[in-house]
């Protein structure tokens, strides 16, 4: 069904299939055997009940597998096959009332019952006790509650509880025009505003039968990389703060501020709001703008290289990074980790290799850390390598001006899907439209959402005072989950 779209301008290919609930598990297993990676699942209300759709990424193709369930019917769980499906199933239960068959327990995720035992994993044995942190913290942090099961300083298990500020954006977007729906995706999270917007725009365009032109694709890639730049600089600063290494924190925070000011000079907005529009356009770069931006980026790049070098030689800080918060390649595969966290463990997945709707070269390769040990040190290294690549990409993109973008008409997909690499990992957006071209369903599954359970897993076995450092090495958004 996608052959005639292989020639540029390209879009992300999607394949849809529907199976009865009785063969749901077998069909999902077959997807895995074909090489598909689980990238989330979502429920859509239908006349008779729900449609439960799982997304699998296979190269540039996204395959949607769905099953129809009547009211009160149960869906066979796949959490034992795909650990990454845990949050998706729990969320569908809490928000859509979908029941799952074969799960020992589906602890509440978005719903917040009072009893601790109802949402935490029971930890038994001699001497474990619980340490509760948040949702109100001593610093300026988003709202999240962490319940550590510890013995002494050693963490046995962590139950994170997010969704304190769940806004129901997906539900709120329903009934709006696809163009207006962008605002809901954009406002899900400030630090991932561009990624979420681009993912939504690409998905909505696929559902509307629009194909972005060259300028739109280049413009979107530009703002995506600018977003990655300031996020990576921020994350390195935060990792330094996590070990109390003030010079590193200050240096990278200052670089981040400069990146934000460059954003402002380009888009009149430090966090690049309003640079993406459904159907193309949004950001336009004249030759003068491109030169100014290139000059700013060149200086920033030089200072980044210096600061990075200094951080590499800061022995007391580097001594804290190794062997902390380790994540094995097996864990990455089992839990569906994405982004720098996955690449730091040696799993070369990067949404930028499979984004035909954007402007990454066919030779783009996922960043590989010198030592894919999966710990804080490796996650820091990945960011260092990627920041250098981002400077390179930005230089190429700004070599010529970017005009006002538009899009061409093509055949619409029944369900628009897009996958875009955010600074924290692959973000997936699915858009379904009604016959009257209104939003019937938007589903946004961000890189942060995919990685939160992974962070909890990587924390086990570490020391309690090392948790802030591990947390910062993932640097996930709460807002991306509380969408």
């Amino acid at each position: 069904m996608t052959q005639h779209r292989a020639a540029p301008p390209a879009r992300q290919a999607t394949e849809t299939a529907s199976v009865p609930a009785t063969t749901w598990r077998e069909a999902c297993l077959a997807e895995r055997d074909r090489g598909g990676r689980f990238r989330g699942a979502y429920a859509t209300a239908t006349d008779v009940g729900h449609r439960w759709t799982a997304l699998f990424a296979d190269g540039a193709t996204t395959r949607l597998l769905s099953t129809e369930v009547g009211a009160g019917e149960l869906v066979p769980t796949i959490v034992d096959l795909f650990g990454a499906a845990d949050w998706d199933e729990r969320e569908a239960r809490d928000l859509h009332g979908l029941g799952f068959e074969g799960r020992d327990s589906a602890r509440p995720l978005v719903a917040h019952p009072r009893e601790t035992a109802s949402w935490t994993v029971p930890v038994r044995g001699e001497g474990p006790y619980q340490v509760a942190v948040g949702p109100v913290h001593t610093g300026v942090i988003e709202s999240g509650h962490f319940r550590f099961h510890v013995v002494g300083e050693r963490i046995l298990h962590l139950d994170p509880r997010l969704f304190y500020k769940h806004r129901g954006l997906e539900r709120a977007a329903e009934g709006n025009s696809p163009e207006r729906g962008l605002a809901f995706a954009q406002r899900a999270c400030g630090a991932c505003a561009v990624t979420n917007s681009v993912a939504y725009a690409l998905a909505a365009e696929a559902a509307m039968g629009l194909v972005p032109d060259r300028d739109t694709r280049r413009g979107r890639t530009l703002v995506l990389e600018l977003e990655r730049l300031y996020n990576h600089l921020n994350d390195v600063a935060q990792i330094c703060a996590g070990v109390g290494f003030a010079p590193g924190n200050m240096a990278f925070a200052a670089l981040k501020e400069r990146a934000l000011r460059l954003n402002h000079s380009l888009a009149r907005h430090r966090f690049l709001f309003g640079t993406v529009a459904v159907g193309g356009g949004g950001v336009e770069v004249s030759a003068d703008d491109a030169d100014a931006l290139l000059g700013g980026l060149r200086e920033l790049g030089e200072d980044f290289a210096l600061a990075w070098r200094e951080l590499s030689f800061a022995a007391s800080a580097q001594a804290r990074f190794g062997g902390v918060g380790e994540l094995s390649a097996t864990d990455v595969e089992a839990l569906g980790a994405v982004g720098p966290a996955a690449r730091a463990a040696g799993i070369a997945v990067d949404g930028r290799t499979t984004s035909p709707g954007l402007w990454y070269g066919s030779d783009f390769a996922p960043a590989a850390p010198p030592e894919p040990s999966g710990d804080v040190a490796a996650r820091l290294q990945v960011r260092g390598v990627e920041t250098a690549v981002t400077f390179e990409l930005l230089r190429e993109l700004l070599a010529e001006p970017i005009g006002p973008g538009a899009s061409e008409h093509d055949e619409p997909d029944p369900r628009g899907v897009a996958r875009v690499e955010s600074p924290r990992g692959e973000t997936v957006c699915a858009v379904e439209l009604t016959a009257t071209r209104r939003i019937a369903r938007v589903h946004l599954r961000t890189g942060s959402y995919a990685n939160w359970p992974v962070l909890a897993h990587a924390t086990a076995g570490n020391l309690l005072p090392d948790f802030p450092l591990i947390n910062k090495s993932f640097e996930l958004c709460y807002a991306c989950a509380d969408r």
Binding site: T138, E153, C240, G244, A246, A314, L463, F467
Partner: protein
Amino acid sequence: MTAVAALIQVLGGLALAPLLPGLVQSLKARLQGRRGPSPLQPYRDLRRLWGKSGADPQPTTLVYRLAPCVVAAATALALLLVPIAGRAPDWSLGNDALVLVGLFALGRFALAAASWDTGSGFALMGSSRDLTFAVFGEPLLLLALLVAAFPAASTDLVAMSVAAGGSAPWGEPAHWCGAAAFALVVLVETGRQPIDNPDTHLELTMIHEGPLLEYAGRDLALLEWSGAARHWIVLVLAAELFGPHWGGFWAQLGWLALGLVALCTALAATETAQAKMRILRVPGLLAGGCAIALVGLASALVGGLV
């Protein structure tokens, strides 16, 4: 001149002490490329806190209520033990170095008991870490003081201060060992990096800040002042027992002021250059300090025999 020493002892401890952490913070900000707060900021904080009433979390008992007073009283008493420029008035307390160790322990115990009383996770975590470190920190303090006590043949702080004056001690390896060990004492007692991070907002990593989280208003002011006074005590001791000082009373007073500024600068520089250590490695560092102090003691013993 003893009257002047007494004046500095009391007024310095009470009024000048907050200047020391203020100075460290201010210097640190400069070193990190920030404008930072003025060195007088701790005074402003104390004034603000003093104007507010305390708050008791429920359920807590007298243990929680009394802890700030006990800590402040123990610290105030410790202030009176520390000689200034080799002189100390007779408060009928003596100036025994071992009493100082005990008073520090008393303050630590009061705060740990208050943490138990509140049952707050962060307070208990901070206290438990503080007590764990104290297992290594107290012997370190004791051994470092003993190294200084050797040439004076007494644990009287005035005699120790006098014996540490002039150029003679610098020819003794023991003095250098003692100075190295006491540098670690300064880090652990002032709660500074690489052992503790006084600026952190990360509650899971807190040590000295943890037990203070539940306190507010005047109680917190007392505890904050005690922290500043602890800076005063250990830094004055470091300058008096292991810093260079020559000449008469006034000259020694000048050396003391110089020593305090130098030590604050050193603390700021250390805190800037060093990240915080992994928490379980701190006991090893302190044990290493104990070993250095023991080498110092051994060398002093051998020297005494020859």
